[in-house]
C-alpha cells in the first residue's frame, strides 16, 4: 500500500485532498455522510473579522458544465468559527486551512491577527478575489503590486503559514503568483471561480451574475498550476472541477481512488509525482 501522506508547511496530512473553500459549509454538515477527517485537511468557508450576511437570492444557478454562485461571502465571522465550529475539528484531529477575506486591508489584517496558531491550523488561505471597497471595488487579486502589498502586510501579523488564493480574472496569473511569493506567501491556491453570467432569454434579463465553477474550471486551473509551479518554489493547491454538490461522496471517493491509482501505478509515495508533468 503506497502512502498518500504529504507534508504541508511542516504538518503531516494523511492525503493531499481537501475541499474547495465554501463548498463544504462549516464541516459539520457532511457528518451524517462521511467523516470530515477523511480529508487531508478541511478548508473553511471564507471567514471575515466581522460576520457577513451575504447576498439576496437567487444565489446559485445551474449552467452546462458547472454552476454560478453569488453567495456574497455569508459567514459567521472568524471569532464564532473558532468558538463554535473549530472544537469539532479538534475533537476529530482534523487539520484545518482557514480561508479568510476582507473588503479592506484592515479587515484582512484584523482577521488574520485574530487567528491563534494551533497544532491543527495548517495555514491561512487568503481569498484575493474580494473587491477592495476603498479602491472602488477593484479586486485585491488583480494587480501584482496590490497582491504583493497585501500579502506582505498579512505576512507580518501572523506566524501561521500563509496561502494566497488567486483569481483567474487577471492578465497574467504567473505575475500575480510571483508577487504573492515575493510578498511572503508560503503557498498558493489556484484558482477561484470565473466571473460569468446567465441570461434568461424568455424574461430578457440577466438571471444571475457570479462565479462560475465546476468541470469547466479544471483545464483553466491546470494551466495556472502548471505555469505558476514553474515560476515559484512554494506548494500549490489546485482547485477546480470537483463537483461535490453533484455527488456528496465526491471527496471520500477521490481519496479512495487516489489510493488505488497509487498502488496500480506501483508508486510507494504520492509525493513521487509532484512536479512530474513539468518541462
Amino acid at each position: 500500500m503506497g502512502s498518500l501522506a504529504v507534508n504541508l508547511f511542516g504538518k503531516k496530512l494523511k492525503n493531499p485532498v481537501m475541499n474547495a473553500s465554501g463548498t463544504l459549509g462549516y464541516g459539520v454538515e457532511v457528518e451524517p455522510l462521511w467523516a470530515v477527517e477523511t480529508m487531508g485537511a478541511y478548508v473553511t468557508k471564507g471567514l471575515s473579522a466581522a460576520p457577513h450576511h451575504g447576498n439576496p437570492t437567487p444565489r446559485v444557478w445551474e449552467e452546462r458544465c458547472g454552476m454560478l454562485n453569488s453567495i456574497g461571502l455569508q459567514n459567521v465571522g472568524v471569532h464564532r468559527f473558532f468558538s463554535h465550529y473549530f472544537p469539532f475539528f479538534v475533537e476529530r484531529r482534523c487539520p484545518v486551512i482557514v480561508n479568510f477575506f476582507g473588503f479592506s486591508e484592515e479587515e484582512y489584517l484584523s482577521c488574520a491577527r485574530s487567528i491563534e496558531p494551533h497544532d491543527l491550523v495548517v495555514a491561512l488561505e487568503m481569498n484575493l478575489s474580494c473587491p477592495n471597497i476603498k479602491k472602488g471595488g477593484i479586486g485585491f487579486g488583480k494587480e501584482a503590486s496590490t497582491v504583493h502589498a497585501i500579502v506582505r502586510s498579512v505576512r507580518e501579523v501572523t506566524k501561521i503559514p500563509l496561502i494566497a488564493k488567486l483569481t483567474p480574472e487577471v492578465k497574467n496569473i504567473v505575475e500575480i503568483a510571483r508577487a504573492a511569493y515575493e510578498g511572503g506567501a508560503d503557498g498558493l491556491t489556484l484558482i477561484n471561480t470565473m466571473p460569468a453570467a446567465v441570461v434568461d432569454v424568455k424574461e430578457r434579463r440577466v438571471s444571475l451574475k457570479g462565479g462560475f465553477s465546476g468541470p469547466l474550471l479544471k483545464p483553466v486551473a491546470l494551466r495556472a498550476v502548471h505555469e505558476c509551479s514553474q515560476a515559484v518554489p512554494i506548494p500549490i493547491i489546485g482547485v477546480g472541477g470537483t463537483a461535490t454538490f453533484v455527488d456528496p461522496f465526491a471527496m471520500p471517493k477521490i481519496i479512495a481512488e487516489l489510493g488505488s491509482w497509487l498502488d496500480a501505478s506501483g508508486l510507494a509515495d504520492i509525493s513521487a509525482i509532484v512536479g512530474a508533468a513539468h518541462g
Binding site: G25, L33, G54, R59, V246
Partner: protein, 252 residues
Amino acid sequence: MDDIPGKITGNDCVTGAYRRLTVGLTRPLGRVSPGQFVMVKVPDRDIFLRRPFSIYDSRGRALTIMYRVVGRGTDALSAAVRGTPLMVLGPLGRGFTPGKGNTPIVVAGGIGYAGVRMLLKRLGDRATLFFGVTGKDELRLADDLKDTRVLASTMDGSSGFAGDVVSLLGRYLDDYRGKRPEVFACGPSGMVKSLKALLEPGRIPCQVSVEERMACGMGLCFGCVVATRDEANPYKRVCKEGPVFSLWDLSL
C-alpha cells in the same frame, strides 16, 4: 441522511404537468418527518445539479415524489422511463412539528400539496386541507387523501370556492376560535404573503415550507437562503434550518 441508488418504478402523469414518480431504493430512506425533502439526481448528464422534491411518501425502500414540470430538470425527469437508475439524497431538512393539542389547518397551493401530503397522512382526520388550485382538474392531485376533510378553491371557479385559497381560509377562520388552531402551509410565495396578512391579527401559529433554488441540499453552499427576522443572522438555509419555518420568523 444517505445517498441511495434507486431505480424508477413508475413515472406517471397525474394531471396536466403534474407527475408522480416512484423509486425503488436499494436501502430504505429511514425515518422521515413530514415536510422533509430529497435531492434527486435527474438521470440526464446535462442536468448538473440535483433537484429538491418533498417526500410525498416513503415506506421501506419505496419512495414517492410528486412534481410539476416547470423547467429543464423536471422536463428531463419526466422523460425518464421505468428501470432508469437514479440517486436520491435524503431525508433532508427540518419538517413540520405539529404542536400537541392544537387543531391543524393545512393550506396548500398547487404542487405545494406534495409538501404537506405526508403531514396530512400523519394527521389523519384531525386535519382540514384548504387546497387552492387553478382549475378543477388539479384537484386530482389530492385524490389519494381519504381521512382528511378537503375544502377546495379554484381560481377559475370550476369547482369549490371561486378565488384564492387564503380567502377561502379567511371564511372559516372564525370557526377555529378557541380551538388552538395551528396552520401548516406550502405553496407559492404569493400565497404565503396573503396567509401572513390573514393570520397577522391573531398571530396564529403557522409553519410554512419554503422553496429556494438549491445546489447541494445539505447546508454546504449557503445557496438556498431565505431572509428571516433574525437581525444578527438573517439568511437561513432552506435546506438545513428549513424548509419549514415559522411564518413569524420569516421576513417576507
